[in-house]
């Protein structure tokens, strides 16, 4: 448990679901005319005042238009500031796919009667997470060539998730909407869920350019894994709990870890609580990192 977690007496895994749900609810409230968060996670307006834009979407838009504007820059600054603090915590705490994927895996576990730690390795685990950088670069090149923010407009899970919501609401209220938009966006999300069923977390670990971009922030962010000195029981529970394949146990004698695939979900922390309590999420400075 973190300090906050200890204070409220909730487990990290619960806390991060509260955060996610809170954010989704704030977005849903826009359909009732509440101006708390308007838009979606690719771009939004907070409290009718602060414009926000996803960092990868910003790059795509910048490269596709080959035009730098202060408007977009002011919108990406708060996002950058946020991730300089929290790193890739976006993925573990804010991204709706993380939650949907968890449900998919629950269903899968139930059907196949396997427990949490026993997620078997598939060939997908052999795919290097580095491939994501190639994918991201490719998408940027495509965007530049066709002058359209390609991933963000057509493929992005974030765009399509919120487009499904908005489109669905417009359909339900008989407002101007093209139903094909909803069908398309829902299909993309469904496809991602099917991919998750077959190859758990292949998307997040290796492919998603949004996550990869935030991963780079992990190298400098305030938030990081901090390891307490102590006796490691070598139970390897931490690594079994981590669905992002972060190599924790073999680094446990270092002061901490900055891994570009760590989403700070805190599952390793919870895993270790049964034995050594050696892992912490920390915003404080850690030497030699």
């Amino acid at each position: 448990m973190t300090k906050i977690g200890r204070y409220f007496k909730v487990k990290l895994s619960k806390l991060r679901r509260f955060v996610l749900l809170g954010i989704i609810i704030l977005f849903l409230l826009q359909f009732f005319g509440v101006k708390a968060l308007v838009g979606g996670l690719t771009g939004s307006v907070a409290v009718w005042f602060v414009k926000l834009i996803d960092v990868f979407a910003y790059f795509e838009s910048l490269i596709a238009s080959k035009d730098f504007t202060m408007t977009a820059f002011w919108a990406v600054l708060p996002a950058i500031a946020l991730y300089l603090i929290f790193g890739r915590a976006f993925c573990g705490w804010v991204c709706p796919m993380d939650f949907l994927y968890e449900i998919v895996n629950r269903i899968k576990d139930k059907r196949q009667g396997s427990g949490v730690g026993s997620q078997k390795k598939t060939i997908a685990d052999k795919i290097s997470p580095k491939i994501g950088y190639v994918v991201a670069m490719l998408l940027i090149v495509i965007s530049a060539l066709i002058s359209i923010p390609f991933f963000t407009n057509y493929i992005s899970h974030l765009t399509n998730f919120f487009r499904t919501l908005t489109g669905g609401v417009f359909l339900a209220l008989d407002l101007p909407v093209e139903p094909v938009v909803v069908v398309y966006s829902l299909s993309v999300i469904t496809a991602l869920l099917v991919l998750e069923y077959i190859y758990p977390r292949l998307w997040c670990r290796a492919l998603c350019p949004v996550g990869k971009t935030y991963g780079l922030f992990n190298k400098v962010s305030l938030l990081k894994l901090k390891f307490v000195e102590g006796e490691c029981g070598e139970c390897n529970l931490c690594e079994q709990m981590c669905y992002m394949n972060v190599k924790i146990a073999r680094n446990i004698d270092r002061p901490g870890l900055r891994d570009t695939n760590c989403i700070y979900c805190g599952r390793c922390v919870e895993g270790c609580e049964t034995k050594g309590k050696l892992i912490k999420l920390s915003l404080k400075r850690v030497k030699e990192l």
Binding site: Q30, T42, G43, K51, D67, T71, T159, T166, P176, V183
Partner: protein, 251 residues
């Protein structure tokens, strides 16, 4: 791998089924051609009518990330004017446009350009907006066929700036000049069934402008007898037919 072939088949069937059902529900609506009850059937809208403040089409497209801020801002403002473009035009998929001016025109509240995070929509003054250009169908407009209506000019947020009036025996005839910003409020408030005003894109206007002006000038110069024949022989029956249509739509 613990994922068996059978699982996959089952899953595909479920996913496929869900998709077929959902698209089956909507297919008729996806492919239903808009019934052509609108004015000026010979003139196409000429593309997507963008929200106000949009950059020129190419730049707009390269900037817009389909975040939906504008769509939802318009919804929060309770105008519901902006729709998301579908797959008919692949390049423009996901981008915002004003779809149904007859029911949901833009009220020029200028909130969407204020909040667009990418700058695809730019903050500008109302008067400088260039969403499109409204064209009146002189064959359908009440004013041009012996009536006093002028609903369009009363609805227009720019009013006298945009409207020229020609009063005469044939009615109180409104004419929309090129200062029109294309918001579509006039389309909405025209009492004719299916509206007598159509908003087309600026590029489309450039193409049809010459033709439209020739027709307008011919109408202005038309001798009374000929005009009488046109109004009573052609236009009024059509106007009455659309009145019935409007009634049916309401019911």
């Amino acid at each position: 791998m613990d994922f068996t072939r059978r699982d996959f088949l089952k899953l595909s069937v479920i996913a496929g089924g869900a998709l077929t059902v959902s698209s089956g529900l909507y297919l008729p609506r996806i492919f239903a051609a808009d019934k052509e009850l609108g004015p000026l059937p010979g003139i196409d809208v000429g593309g997507l009518i963008r929200p106000p403040g949009a950059l020129p089409e190419r730049e707009f497209r390269s900037k817009c990330i389909s975040c939906g801020v504008c769509v939802n801002v318009c919804r929060v403002m309770k105008y519901d004017a902006i729709a998301i473009a579908g797959l008919r035009d692949l390049r423009n998929f996901g981008t915002p446009y004003i779809k149904e001016m007859r029911d949901f025109p833009c009220y020029l509240c200028m909130e969407c350009p204020k909040h667009c995070p990418t700058g695809a929509l730019q903050k500008i003054e109302k008067e400088k907006v260039t969403m499109g250009m409204a064209l009146i169908d002189f064959g359908l407009c009440f004013g041009w066929n012996g009536d006093i209506c002028l609903s369009c000019s009363k609805a227009c947020p720019l009013g006298a700036l945009v409207f020229d009036f020609h009063h005469g025996t044939w009615g109180n005839q409104p004419y929309i000049n090129e200062k029109c910003v294309g918001c579509g409020l006039c389309v909405r408030y025209c009492p004719l069934g299916g509206s007598a005003v159509k908003v087309v894109t600026r590029s489309q206007y450039a193409i049809v402008k010459e033709d439209y002006l020739i027709k307008f000038k011919r109408l202005m110069a038309m001798p009374d007898e000929e005009r009488y024949a046109v109004v009573y022989g052609q236009n009024l029956p059509e106007i009455i037919a659309r009145g019935r249509l409007l009634e049916r739509e309401h019911r």
